[in-house]
């Protein structure tokens, strides 16, 4: 069962094109939407929230098409954005007073617990809060109306490491209830390394892969060796290649092939997600001459 299904979605604006992207967000799991800045992650999320309309293709939430105004579906979504979208001149108390009536399942007690847990001062204006505190408030709102799907657009960008870790722990905690689904976009791959079950990788408006995190990490290999191992044919095997004066490191998407090709002549390692994103984003190869 999918919480979100994106089918052949395309969108063009200001020189950017999202090109026939399809993927699914499985119910009960954390899916990481990864890719470099400007790859189309936020556009995809905005389309799921109906803040932006696709030029082509379609999106389904909980099995229902998003073609028309699907206001009732947003009742089931908790949205957390990288940027504060609440009214800056209001206090948290007043902002909550505005938000709460819109949700049938708003749980004031639970919300109060989150405010307490996050040490959020109710009488402080939103503009007086730090970025981390604004994010905590956004998260408290998203978690207090029994949302089945949490859609989080770069929630950890600009946060200090302590709160980032707290946030990831909180999300893991949320997954104890298997009914909840999380879609978490980030270019900070170490966060997704820690919590994601599935990964959707978009780059330059195109889908690169959609797989379980374990499969992605198992399939890809990072090969390190001397430049004498590289010739024109070998170079084509790499998704991305980085050469220096003393050697190279490159990413391959086929472990067996890497082992057959290089054997003991090169070092074959399991890459991090960051390395996979880096080398794939730089598909043509980055040459650094030391």
């Amino acid at each position: 069962m999918n919480a979100v299904k994106v089918e052949e979605v395309s969108k063009s604006y200001g020189g950017f094109r999202l090109d026939g992207v399809s993927f699914a967000v499985r119910k009960g799991f954390i899916t990481g939407l990864i890719g470099p800045n400007g790859s189309g992650k936020s556009t995809l999320i905005r389309m799921m929230m109906q803040m932006s309309r696709p030029d082509g293709g379609q999106i389904e939430l909980f099995g229902q098409r998003l073609d028309r105004d699907a206001a009732q579906l947003r009742e089931r979504i908790g949205y957390v954005s990288d940027e504060n979208y609440f009214y800056e001149h209001l206090t948290l108390k007043k902002m909550t007073k505005i938000i709460a009536p819109f949700y049938k399942n708003w749980d004031s007690e639970l919300f109060g617990n989150y405010l307490h847990r996050f040490e959020l001062p109710e009488n402080k204006k939103i503009k007086e809060l730090s970025k981390g505190m604004k994010m905590k408030f956004s998260l408290a709102v998203a978690l207090s109306h029994a949302a089945e799907l949490l859609v989080m657009d770069e929630p950890t960008s600009g946060l200090d490491p302590v709160f980032r870790r707290e946030l990831l722990d909180l999300l893991t905690e949320q997954m104890q209830d298997e009914e909840r689904t999380i879609l978490f976009s980030s270019h900070i791959t170490s966060d997704l390394d820690r919590i994601a079950d599935y990964l959707v990788f978009v780059n330059r408006g195109k889908l690169v892969f959609e797989e379980s995190k374990d499969e992605v990490l198992e399939r890809h290999v990072l090969v390190k060796g001397g430049t004498e191992l590289l010739d024109a044919d070998v170079r084509t095997l790499f998704l991305g290649l980085r050469e220096t004066g003393v050697g190279f490191e490159g990413l391959m998407s086929d472990r067996e092939r890497a082992e057959r090709t290089f054997g003991n002549m090169a070092l074959i390692e399991r890459p991090t997600l960051e390395e996979i994103v880096y080398f794939t984003a730089k598909r043509e190869g980055v040459r650094v001459h030391a």
Binding site: R46, M51, R53, R74, E75, F86, Y87, L90, K94, F102
Partner: protein
Amino acid sequence: MLSVVYLIRKDILLVYRYMLLLLPFFLYMAWAQIGTLLVYVTVPAIFMLITSCTFDMQNTNPRFTASLPVSRTQVVLSKYASLAPFTLIGLLFAAVLQGGAALLNLDAGSFRLTEIALVIAINVAVASLYLPLYFWLGPKGMQIVRLVFIMIVAIGSSTLGALSQRSDLLQRWLGGSVQGAGMIWGTVCLALVVLLGASVFLSLKLYAKQDI
């Protein structure tokens, strides 16, 4: 339907403190135009509408409304409907001022039904022109439009107020003692309904496909 009510409530909560800051300005306007209900009611009501629209368009605020479980149709309708409580607040403001003026033995005019109807008509007409522009232009183009509308409302209503004080014909018309006044009112109402209908239709069309 309930969502529209919550959206109107949101708009009132957004602007009421801001309006308190503008109270001295409104008081000055009222004092300068004493005897003219038009100024007391029109200016605060349209100011509140424009201010709530401004807050909704600032920074990333459009995403807030878009993240709520409300449809875009409800968002548009709520902006038009919010004119009703804003006009009511304007009327209450006028009533309080009239009461205050009476205590000070100043002539603050009277609450004639025709004058209230004219105020409502002006508010509806201004909102019908303003809101499609608001939904069309978004945050970038609205800064100039907002300024222009505030000036039109402030200058226009005070000019009309002064005119109504000095023009015998307008006074008689507002008093309902002009022959054919009913016909004029009927035409005005019809024109307003057409204008409002076209405005709502246009706003719905413009906002339905807008990327936020």
